[in-house]
């Protein structure tokens, strides 16, 4: 990514621990609330979903869209954020 947000940089800089789902790049208050309602109240759970989907971009994007209604940019940001985190820590 040529331009990554501060949120992205902050997230990928360290292990996510107990960070809330809103800490993910692309996930704001509204999307975060919707994910929490579906049971994904921690970023690690979304990471779990990402891994269960085999880290497949298309699948993850579709899942994110279905679960919280994220648009293409938000999907991309979240995917990129998790991918980079995995590259560094997994």
């Amino acid at each position: 990514m040529s331009s990554t947000s501060k949120k992205h940089k902050d997230f990928v800089a360290e292990p996510m621990g107990e960070k809330k789902v809103m800490a993910l790049a692309g996930i704001g208050d509204a999307l975060g609330r919707r994910l929490e309602e579906k049971g994904f109240d921690k970023a690690s759970l979304v990471l779990g979903q990402f891994l269960v989907l085999n880290r497949n971009e298309k699948l993850f994007r579709d899942w994110l869209k279905d679960t919280c209604g994220a648009n293409s940019k938000q999907q991309g940001d979240c995917y990129g954020c998790l991918k980079e985190w995995c590259d560094s820590f997994l």
Binding site: Q49, L51, V52, L53, N54, N56, K58, L59, D62, W63, D66
Partner: protein, 186 residues
Amino acid sequence: MSTLSSKSDQEISVLLDEYGIKHGPVVDSTRSLYEKKILEAMGNKKKAKPSSDKTFYREEEEEVTYVRYRTPVSVLKHDPLHHINPYLRSRSEYSSQDFVDNTRVISWRSGKQSGREHHDTPSTYSTMSYSNATPVKCSVPVPEEKSHRLIPLWVQFLVFLAVAVFLYFVFCNMESTHSEPFKQVK
């Protein structure tokens, strides 16, 4: 197929493989997503079948309309007015040449088309033909053949005549001034 939700996780996994969908393990959180994917794939498969029939139909249609296109060309050549408008003659020449070129295109296309979608055809026509009328022609039935010109013929005649008359007037006016420089030289 009608009740995907009643199938076991393993059956869902098998279905995903059948449709060539890349997937991870089928667990609670991924189940609904995979079910949607399978439904989409089933829908696409149904769509793919009728379109292949369409391409086949299209092949026949193109070849048939092609033969009909011949007749207007021969009519144009016998047109008594065509000597007034040389542009017309060149058009008929173009269209006859078109015909030759397009037969080649058609025979090539019909061979290729069995596996492709029919919307590819118009693009090839536009690259090969000289006039706009030709690609439209081949997909349009016989009764509408007469309306293949963008500008009607009589309008073209009128414009030509108007331009000719205008140039004639200019020429007439020019003639009077011709004599002056002649005098000056003397």
